[in-house]
């Protein structure tokens, strides 16, 4: 088991004929992902890496039975593509696209929430269930199968920490990127709840960063509801106030959103917070011993 994605999941790739879409489709197929169709408007009839391309999502879904979709579409097209995909009955969407207008993200989130559809992103590195399937751009060789759930706001930092975990023999059930935009489609709290309900996950690692209040809010739901142990690392203690660090959401304003406020909130909720990314491994080992003594 895993969350949201496994080797059976029938995956659609939107924007499959673009440079990035094409290259990533190849990597996803090599990893074992069950890609059943692609969509690019006006490119219907083409075949990319053996995957049939359709003009519309409705057509692709009715021909292939796709249940999940990964987006490599341009930022200005994300809103309409997301609504079209939701209307076609797809229940899970991963938006890799960067620079999606925040007002569009608000509209998509509203539309999806009304219809019970789950989205990751914008600016998600994707989702990867080791040894089974991946949607997005996470490099497969940096992850190992195991029982740690990983939620990251940043792609590269997820690779760093999963490499460290794997080197210590700690594989992942599922690793996913929630993105670091000002408005995230799915909140950190909701993602934690999915891992909490997954019988194949023993512990969850949160890789957060400065900006926004996702971690502060998640701390509250961890204290209230979470049954599994949680370990976190928050990047950016040295980020000066008011400077934006690459990610649109990574800007420190006032006292909320700083690394300090996130670390304090998480620690208060019983989360073990690593000072540096390399410390995550020992905190995970310690928590596992505490929660699951000598099995």
């Amino acid at each position: 088991m895993s969350i949201l994605l496994n080797r059976e999941t029938k995956v659609l790739v939107q924007g499959i004929t673009g440079r990035v879409g094409r290259a990533q489709t190849k990597w996803m197929l090599e990893y074992g992902t069950n890609i059943v169709a692609g969509v690019t408007p006006r490119k219907g009839g083409e075949v990319v890496e053996g995957v049939p391309v359709y003009d519309s999502v409705a057509q692709a879904v009715s021909e292939s039975g796709a249940e999940a979709s990964v987006f490599f579409v341009p930022p200005a097209a994300v809103k309409d593509a997301a609504c079209e995909t939701i209307d076609a009955g797809v229940r899970f969407i991963v938006v890799v696209t960067e620079h999606v207008p925040v007002h569009d993200a608000m509209e998509v989130k509203d539309y999806a929430t009304e219809r019970g559809v789950r989205l990751l992103g914008p600016t998600s590195a994707g989702i990867l269930t080791p040894g089974e399937a991946k949607m997005g751009i996470m490099p497969g060789n940096m992850f190992q199968p195991g029982r740690i759930g990983v939620i990251s706001r940043s792609g590269t930092l997820a690779y760093e920490i999963c490499l460290n975990l794997a080197a210590a023999g700690l594989g992942q059930s599922t690793a996913l990127g929630m993105g670091a935009d000002p408005v995230a489609f799915t909140s950190l709290s909701d993602l934690l709840a999915l891992f909490d309900a997954d019988p194949e996950t023993d512990l969850v690692v949160i890789i957060g960063e400065v900006g926004g209040t996702q971690e502060e809010h998640a701390a509250q739901s961890i204290a209230d509801r979470m049954t599994k142990p949680v370990v976190a690392y928050i990047a950016g203690h040295t980020v000066p106030e008011g400077k934006r660090m690459g990610h649109a959401g990574a800007i420190v304003q006032g006292d909320m959103g700083t690394a300090r406020s996130k670390i304090n909130a998480l620690q208060k909720a019983g989360v073990a917070v690593a000072e540096y990314p390399g410390d995550v491994v020992k905190l995970v080992q310690k928590k596992l011993e505490q929660y699951y003594p000598a099995q």
Binding site: V20, P75, A76, H99, V100, P101, V102, H103, D104, A105, M106, E107, K109, D110, A125, I137, M138, P139, M142, S152, S154, G155, T156, L157, Y159, E160, L163, A167, P182, V183, A184, E209, V210, G212, T213, Q214, H217, A235, G236, H237, T238, V239, P240, G242, K243, R244, M245, G246, H247, A248, G249, A250, I251, Q253, G254, D255, G257, Y276, P277, G278
Partner: protein
């Protein structure tokens, strides 16, 4: 429910995530949507300020046009009794700088006789992903401060993006704030229009502080603040005119030109990273003993050319002791980038130690290219180990 302070912006940030508009630019947009904005004239020279005062009438107010809050306290907003005094004040303000920003333009506007002040704002709650509309009967002061000290004076409401803020809802908010009769109708109308401006221009924030009722019973927006989402700018070509960021340093501007995010800091270790999160973590680890000289994130577009340019940029910073490259090859063809790094170093030899940690697809090839080009390569799986090596190297060369 009082808004949390993180949702509000009181203008204390010297650098911002999004494109801030000058007061006169936001004022023009507000006026176009029917929000009452007093007549103003913007100028960069004192004699014109005098003529402006003759036109708008005295007493007048001279307001520095800078992209930062706290202008009033810094002497950037001053009243003038006569056109002549307006010229003198404009001359002084145009020579000054506010929070490090030189004042290039001033606004001249007729002074209003204020009977009552309000705060009106629309922003985004990142957590719920909904617009938040805020109304307060304490205008002219920081809304964050009011929310802390007098939360009962702040009315805020999350709005469904699909239905928006209708007039009836705006009216409810005005009544909740304790306004009645004509005042409630007038304020609700302006709030409704402000929400419309926020949506129309992809704003992160649209704010009037203060909106005033004059002694004659007119309503006027005496300030105008807007920040536009960078990612939404393509829909507003007319706004791009002012998109030049007066707050960016020359190196930061150069970073933008070559297509990377470069933030100049005041330390001595240059940093190059293939991702934003990884770059922040690298800064944290380096911060144990040294200070980062910059933040630099390449994004997903690494090529030989890009990393050649990146090396040129990072090495321009004065006072560097070392450069640390932290590259994780996911989708990025780092073996291509490595060629650019060593080509730059061959053409521009330097005594500054360059330490690289690179992992992922084709890593052996990457290590070989870098080593042949004189870069110290660390192959450890954790960034900390590589940084410790860098620290050792710096201790030795002391």
């Amino acid at each position: 429910m009082p808004p949390s302070s993180s949702m509000l912006c009181d203008g204390v940030n010297l650098l911002q995530a999004d494109m801030k508009l000058y007061e006169f630019e936001a004022g023009d947009l507000f006026r176009q949507e029917g929000i009452p904005v007093p007549d103003f004239i913007v100028t960069d020279n004192p004699p014109q300020a005098r003529r402006a005062a003759e036109k708008v009438g005295t007493p007048a107010v001279v307001k520095a046009q800078v992209l930062t809050g706290g202008r009033g306290l810094a002497g950037g907003v001053q009243a003038a009794e006569s056109p002549r005094q307006t010229e003198e004040i404009a001359r002084r303000i145009l020579k000054s700088s506010i929070r490090g920003l030189p004042v290039n333009r001033v606004m001249v506007v007729k002074k209003a006789e204020v009977a009552r002040e309000f705060y009106l704002g629309v922003t985004i709650d990142g957590l719920t992903g909904k617009p938040v509309v805020i109304l307060s009967t304490a205008g002219g002061v920081s809304i964050e401060e009011t929310a802390k000290t007098h939360p009962q004076m702040v009315v805020s409401r999350q709005v469904s993006i699909s239905t928006g803020l209708g007039l009836p809802e705006a009216k409810e908010m005005a009544q909740e704030a304790g306004l009645d009769g004509d005042e409630s109708t007038a304020i609700a109308g302006i709030l409704h229009k402000l929400y419309h401006v926020f949506r129309k221009y992809d704003a992160m924030i649209a704010e009037i502080n203060p909106l005033v009722r004059t002694v004659k019973g007119e309503y006027l927006a005496l300030d105008a603040k807007m920040e536009i989402d960078d990612s939404g700018l393509f829909r507003h070509p007319g706004l791009k005119l002012s998109a030049e960021d007066p707050l960016a340093s020359p190196l930061e501007k150069k970073g933008r030109q070559i297509g990377v995010t470069y933030v100049e800091l005041d330390g001595e270790i240059g940093i190059v990273s293939s991702g934003a999160g990884l770059a922040m973590a690298t800064m944290d680890i380096i911060g144990r003993k040294y200070r980062p000289a910059n933040f630099l994130e390449t994004g997903g577009g690494i090529s030989e050319e890009l990393l050649y340019n990146v090396m040129e940029l990072v090495l321009q910073k004065k006072g560097l002791k070392a450069v640390f490259l932290n590259l994780l090859a996911g989708i990025n063809p780092i073996h291509e980038g490595a060629k650019g790094i060593v080509r730059f170093l061959r053409e521009h030899p330097t005594d500054i130690p360059i330490v690289a940690r690179a992992l992922g697809n084709r890593q052996e090839e990457i290590w070989q290219i870098l080593r042949e080009g004189g870069v110290e390569v660390v192959t450890d799986v954790a960034t900390e180990k590589s940084v410790e090596y860098l620290f050792q190297l710096l201790e030795e060369t002391r």
